[in-house]
């Protein structure tokens, strides 16, 4: 269904009234970003703006309205043996494409295939004053005009409301196999380095409580070859594990205390501060449960060369993403002013001051 005109009218009227809006798709990620529950935000429901508009397997691209459920896109692509390369979590099959791009949350395949922004090739948006703007296009190479489409990924709706989105795709791997074994941190890191040096077709690697999980993707022959390099103790395991990890269905995630999300250099040391850690992305993404405050966790993350955010269950009202230097935040504010002059699109969600 195309409800873009209705959405446009709502934005224009909100801009006129200086009424801030909260963009809501299927509301699967309301916990994510800064807490805006105290702000007087008018909900703007966009899930009805949905439907796949164009999918040409020979073009390796898909164009869909932002309210389209991810699982609908994923299964349509799979029929032609193609996929969204960044393996987004689907949040009980309810997450929409728009929320996926706006949050830029991605799955275990990220280090080997790339982020949302790497596959975003265009989007049609409504700016904060209700102007319809085409950013990028539907071809893979396009350097005409400033790149304002990739910054939509991860902006949490603060730079514009995405109406439809075009993504580049990848072929589905012919075959996948998952493995697991227990090993210490040093051996695990050494193994991952070795596999990478040999161009082994790793497509996921996680580590929790001394247990390494590994997934290989590729042709049957290349996976057979690669499996020969794995230690004998490595046992084949079920692929469900990756789904449960990506959807936070593992018991590790079953918590009511704050869950922190750290992005650090892949081989950064573990155990530099107290807390339980589950590492995804081969070690570059660390989920942490700890009694430490967000500020303390962010300081530890910075020491490791990375950043940290409060993902879930953090009750404080400040910023949840690692702070930006003042002058860089100013530049962000100027960008926000360009895209949303009245400051009505998801204000305060990414940073309190944006």
């Amino acid at each position: 269904m195309d409800i873009s005109e209705q959405i446009q009218k709502q934005i224009i009227s909100a801009a006129r009234d200086k009424q801030a809006l909260q963009i809501i798709g299927n509301n699967t990620k309301s916990f994510y970003g800064c807490n805006v529950s105290d702000a007087n935000l008018l909900p703007l429901y966009v899930a009805d703006h949905n439907g796949i508009l164009d999918f040409q397997p020979t073009e390796l691209t898909v164009n869909a309205r932002a309210g389209t459920p991810l699982n609908e896109i994923i299964s349509t692509l799979a029929e032609q043996r193609q996929m969204l390369p960044f393996e987004p979590p689907v949040f009980d099959n309810r997450a929409t494409l728009g929320g996926c791009v706006a949050s830029a949350l991605v799955g275990p395949r990220r280090p080997w295939t790339g982020a949302v922004r790497d596959y975003l090739i265009g989007t049609r948006i409504l700016t904060g004053d209700g102007k319809e703007i085409r950013l990028g296009g539907k071809v893979m190479k396009n350097v005409a005009g400033y790149d304002l489409f990739r910054p939509m990924a991860g902006a949490l709706g603060t730079l514009g409301l995405m109406l439809d989105i075009t993504l580049k795709l990848l072929p589905l791997p012919e075959h996948e196999a998952s493995y697991s074994m227990s090993m210490d941190i040093n051996s695990m890191q050494q193994l991952l380095r070795d596999l990478r040096r040999r161009s082994m077709p790793v497509s996921a690697a996680s580590y929790h409580q001394g247990q390494l999980f590994l997934r290989l993707s590729g042709s049957t022959t290349s996976i057979d070859d690669a499996a020969n390099y794995l230690p004998d103790e490595m046992k084949e395991t079920t692929a469900d594990y990756w789904h449960d990890l990506n959807e936070h269905k593992l018991s590790f995630f079953d918590v009511s205390t704050p869950l922190y999300r750290l992005v650090v250099p892949t081989f950064a040391p573990y155990d530099t501060f107290a807390g339980e850690c589950l590492a995804d992305w081969g070690g570059a993404l660390r989920w942490i449960k700890t009694p430490l405050s967000l500020g303390e966790v962010q300081k530890h993350a910075a020491d490791l060369g990375g950043t940290a955010s409060a993902y879930r269950n953090d009750t404080q009202d400040g910023d949840v993403f690692s702070p930006l230097p003042g002058h860089l935040l100013d530049l962000h504010k100027r960008m926000k002013m360009v895209m949303d002059p009245a400051g009505i699109l998801n204000p305060g969600r990414l940073y309190r001051d944006l």
């Binding site: 703007i133 396009n142 400033y146 990414l350």
Partner: protein
């Protein structure tokens, strides 16, 4: 204050030899690789530290003198062409590789570092930097970022933007910002992406963190010849549909093949109307399987000949012709004009046919070289600048090709950038709201419009004037064509 006072202030900051202002010293800086468009800068400054740049910008602000940043000057759209009365800053002394981080597969480099020298510096570690524009032996990584340069391996490894994880920039107000970091994600807006392809209009880049990749153990090129160019185009779509992602997928037409063969002796079949070059890389087992699949597929698609490179030497030879296509065409024609439109792959046949018709209509030969896997076309329009009216004819034909690319859902530039060359074509691709937004972004970064002013985004006034020339009674151009 006079220009002399400005130049004198510059010489107080930079030592002798790093401020150029004499007529003959400025001549080499008049243009980039788009040599038809020239302009003499007021002066050239050659800084080598961030501090020197900060001081230069301070003086420029004082005098309201514009700044054009230049790397190796290999750009094809005039992005680094001087602006009248502006200072040109050459970044070529920013030429150090500052750090190679094997664990995170990144390198921190200065913008004047040559593209190819990054791969050379990490080759002993089995690593490389993937984007490989044809000018990679000479072009600088700073220029690559400014133009978001491509190359022949974009289909699998992306454009420059996909291979840059962070950078340090200086905005015109003298503020130094660090964008991105050395991990897979950084908080805030993706300004790193915005900087890619911004053509030196938003900030000056002083450091770049590039992504390195592990060199694949095996790479093999399949060369397939066709006696019909549309068949070759269809074969490209079939390869993609087969679920195989080649590292590179290139196409050349008959004229380009013969010119390249004559120049580079790559062993191309001279009687072919089109060849495809398809590179597969990865593990031996996978590459072998895929090679066999594609050999079969290409025969089914009507290839008259299919060859597979037997060793790396032969693979390089297959590429040599393609990579030398531009200079090769330069030998068969006094002048040529390169286009850079990108179209949905399915429209390849339609576009080729139309280019053929226009080529006859204008009496100008067109040799076609494509990054077929990306739908990125490089028609080379051959003309003779000494024949009166031919430059104009070539430009008009070029603009029609770009308009057609936009009509079919593509873009006027896939990897060469807009610069000064494609300002008019921008009016075809973007409406006034979109262009106004681009201008607002520029203003957010550079309120006085001192950084490379007048490039990349046309003024609304300019487009309005062009629009007046091209009214078609509200009719869509090319109504006979399918829209994709």
């Amino acid at each position: 204050m006079s220009n002399n006072a400005f130049i004198e202030q510059l010489t107080n900051i930079l030592p002798a030899g790093r401020v150029l202002s004499r007529h003959e010293d400025l001549t080499p800086y008049e243009c980039d690789a788009l040599t038809v468009l020239r302009e003499r800068p007021l002066a050239v400054a050659i800084p080598e530290t961030e501090d020197e740049i900060l001081k230069i910008l301070e003086i420029c602000r004082q005098h309201s003198i514009a700044v054009v940043t230049r790397g190796a000057g290999t750009g094809l759209s005039g992005g680094a062409r001087p602006v009248a009365g502006a200072l040109l800053i050459s970044m070529m002394r920013f030429n150090r590789i500052l750090e190679i981080d094997e664990d995170n597969l990144t390198a921190l480099v200065e913008p004047g570092v040559r593209n190819l020298s990054i791969s050379e510096a990490v080759a002993d570690k089995g690593l490389y930097y993937a984007p490989d524009p044809s000018s990679q032996i000479a072009c600088s990584i700073g220029g690559n970022v400014a133009e978001n340069a491509g190359g022949v391996h974009c289909l699998k490894y992306g454009l420059t933007v996909h291979n840059i994880v962070g950078m340090k920039i200086i905005t015109m107000d003298g503020q130094v910002h660090t964008l991105g970091n050395n991990t897979m994600e950084s908080p805030g807006y993706d300004l790193t992406a915005l900087m890619n392809g911004s053509e030196g209009m938003l900030a000056i880049i002083t450091e770049i963190r590039v992504l390195l990749r592990v060199k694949p153990p095996v790479a093999r090129v399949i060369l397939a010849a066709f006696d019909d160019i549309e068949q070759a185009g269809d074969a490209v779509s079939e390869i993609i549909k087969a679920g195989i992602l080649p590292a590179g997928l290139e196409m050349m037409d008959g004229d380009a093949i013969r010119a390249a063969e004559d120049f580079a002796h790559a062993g191309y079949p001279l009687d072919a109307q089109a060849i495809l070059l398809c590179e597969l890389d990865g593990l031996e087992a996978e590459v072998s399987t895929h090679t066999k699949t594609l050999e079969k597929l290409l025969h089914v698609q009507g290839a008259t000949e299919v060859r597979v490179s037997k060793n790396d030497q032969e693979r390089q030879r297959f590429w040599a012709g393609r990579k030398a296509a531009f200079p090769a065409v330069g030998r068969i024609s006094p002048d040529y004009y390169v286009m850079d439109g990108t179209i949905p792959r399915a429209a390849l046949g339609t576009v080729l046919k139309q280019i053929g018709i226009w080529s006859e209509e204008y009496g100008l030969s067109v040799a076609n070289v494509f990054h077929a896997g990306d739908g990125n076309l490089h028609p080379l329009i051959l003309y003779d600048g000494n024949v009166e009216g031919e430059v104009e004819k070539a430009e008009e034909l070029g603009l029609r090709i770009l308009k057609l690319s936009v009509e079919l859902g593509g873009t006027i530039t896939g990897e060469h950038g807009v610069g000064v060359e494609k300002l008019d074509a921008m009016c075809d691709q973007f409406n006034s709201d979109e262009l106004a937004l681009f201008h607002a972004v520029k203003e957010a970064f550079d309120p006085q419009s001192l950084l490379n002013p007048g490039k990349a985004v046309p003024s609304l006034h300019r487009c309005a004037e062009l629009g007046a020339m091209h009214v078609h009674n509200g009719e869509l151009p090319f109504p006979e064509l399918d829209r994709f």
